[in-house]
Symmetry: none
């Protein structure tokens, strides 16, 4: 939507305020015993009461049937077509640990791995060595120096790290080293586009030096690199929608996604309570706020139905705190569904509600997959959520005479 | 939809008849006291009974969140993508007062305005002078003659008029003269595309002469021009859908929109009763009828909830009169919502029902925003309404073997 040239002149700046609460992994599926979803099971009186007064619907993050990663799930809610704009794995991984990427920087997702005497892969994840073992190895790799490029290695968690390449004329269009199977040797990096030859050679040199530095290690004596990527160059959503945007997130990846969308990222603490307090303190300074709630997704990914229910219940008391700020438009949405019974992101349409003075107010009895399917918004693409936010805030003028 | 090349061969001509009743500004929002919308408040037994036997749904005129003008709202129902086809302000204004536009003609929306001794704007609308004052001024401007172009000035209402330029090689790609603020001088018209230089010069000359002719006027001594436009060159909907189309509308703008869509406009009277009588008399001569009901929108735009309720109640007795004609497909739709509490066009999805022998028949208790949100048609784009009309009329063959 953000590129919808025809609507560009319809966006208008006003003092009204929009709060977009993204509940990560919000949607779910029924528990086989109770036939109730996580939202239907949870005791969430404040979300339920808000749904009654809101316009409800379901959002499809990418396309029906397509489960998105965190990148596409959030970009869509911010108004960017996730099929046109992709944040590569390496760049997303960097965002996830607060590693700054400048224009031109290339980031890769790295794994420590184990190879045998012939250089063939024995374990692609080095037995999932814990961070306290991998972090010192990262420090060692970080010292590698190669002419013409600045190389930095950052530990992520367990066997994972980020490699950042900084310098002139680097290209992300190079092949990966992970053969995706064991008993094979790591692959040599090849250029995939004109102008990528030098970057491929630099990365091969890095891998060779890493192999030497790690040769004596028993559990992790080699590295695998994939997902070479730079940050996408997106038009700032604030510029397109004429908003003064702010992002508030306790987890670095979501701060990174806010930054990619051109938002001002406001420092906050480690809990959602901290985030709400940050929202309150900065409420006068912006007219659009993205605020992120992570725990529900994590519980869903763990396949822990009860834990996800609990996370939704933990969120509920914060709803009145946000409503007390009296935003003109308050949306509760999700970047994707994470049904506990799947223990993974899924493609199922995500419950969504928009509260403002200008909604029909469905009078539905609660906020969940079933009630939202009956809502007046119907089933929409997540990229259209910002249009609804803008119009309900009086920031989207009539199209055409 | 109308450009949907893939479906072109599926449309087939049959004797079956379609009536599309467009209730202008049909959708609404709840009254703050009763929590009931205009449709929910109105006593409309015939519409309610029809909904029970119909396929119901909600239409989105352009995109979720986007409030359309009358042009995009109608074009969408006729099957034209409103984001691809725009009727510019000047052309729509001309249609609204029955001013004929030929191919090549350019029309502009004109305002009388007031400037001070230095030529700076004091009032962009000349104190909204009444038509009886502006009409004689239009007659004066209409006498302006400039070589190489035929200029005509038509009064609209109050301070508004239409300027029509007719001649060879005119271009609508010229800038407007309205600076949109006071204490500034009207802008000089500039060409915005190659080949528009001469038109820009002609219009500047018109403005200069208008300024001289009006110089002694106390309330309206200058003009502002904007929205230079020609009629869009649309494929006639009758040709695409293989229909013999007719448009019946008491208000000129809607006759104009029917004409833009290539319909035969049948002369009618000033009331909806006249329109229904015209429909009856011509029912054997066409297989598609667009019939327009205006009052609900006007009441909504006035912000008069009770008046809009009354307008819907006034429409209701005509429903059986139309059904007595036994059209194979009878659709009741709206070009957009005009909630009285907003006193403006809005983006809210518009209730819609389609009656034919081939519908499921929802058995819903009434025709309104809430019941239609539960309907079997779901939430669709307004551009898809004609596809439903065609299929239910047996005029849309199976796609693909």
């Amino acid at each position: 939507m953000i590129d919808q040239e025809e609507l560009r002149d319809c966006y208008t700046s006003t003092p009204s305020k929009i709060v977009l609460l993204v509940v990560d992994g919000l949607g779910g599926l029924a528990h086989p015993d109770t036939r109730l979803s996580e939202l239907e099971t949870a005791h969430i009186p404040n979300l339920d009461a808000m749904a009654q007064e809101s316009a409800c619907g379901l959002t499809t993050p990418v396309l029906p049937g397509v489960a998105p990663g965190s990148g596409p799930g959030h970009l869509a809610l911010f108004g960017y077509d996730p099929l046109k704009h992709m944040i590569g794995r390496g760049a997303l991984e960097a965002l996830g640990i607060d590693v700054a990427l400048q224009p031109g920087d290339i980031a890769a997702r790295g794994n420590f791995c184990l190879v045998d005497g012939d250089g063939l892969l024995v374990d692609r994840r080095a037995g999932r060595i814990p961070t306290q073992l991998s972090a010192p190895l990262c420090e060692r790799l970080d010292k590698i120096e190669i002419d013409g490029v600045q190389l930095d290695v950052f530990p992520v968690q367990d066997y994972r790290f980020v490699l950042r390449l900084r310098g002139e004329g680097l290209s992300e269009f190079i092949s990966e080293t992970d053969p995706q199977v064991t008993a094979a040797a790591p692959l040599t990096v090849k250029p995939l586009a004109p102008g990528a030859t030098r970057t491929a050679a630099l990365v091969n040199e890095f891998v060779a030096q890493a192999g030497k530095l790690l040769a004596e290690e028993e559990r992790a004596n080699m590295v695998l690199l994939r997902g070479f990527a730079r940050l996408p160059d997106l038009p700032p959503m604030g510029e397109v929608y004429r908003l003064n945007t702010a992002g508030i997130a306790a987890y670095p990846m979501y701060r990174g996604l806010a930054e990619v969308a051109g938002m001002k990222v406001i420092p906050t603490g480690h809990t959602f309570g901290d985030e709400v307090e940050t929202l309150r303190q900065n409420f006068n300074n912006h007219d659009f706020f993205f605020i992120h709630y992570k725990p529900a997704d994590a519980a869903g990914e763990d396949g822990d139905f009860d834990a996800k229910v609990k996370c939704l219940e933990d969120l509920d008391p914060f709803i009145p705190q946000i409503r007390e700020l009296e935003p003109d438009v308050f949306l509760v949405a999700g970047d994707h569904s994470t049904p506990a019974i799947m223990a993974a992101h899924s493609w199922h349409p995500v419950p969504f509600m928009l509260h403002s003075k200008l909604t029909r107010g469905e009078g539905v009895p609660g906020f969940n997959e079933r009630t939202c399917a009956q809502g007046s918004v119907g089933s929409i693409l997540a990229t259209q959520v910002m249009l609804l936010a803008m119009s309900h805030a009086g920031k989207l003028n009539k199209y055409g005479p």
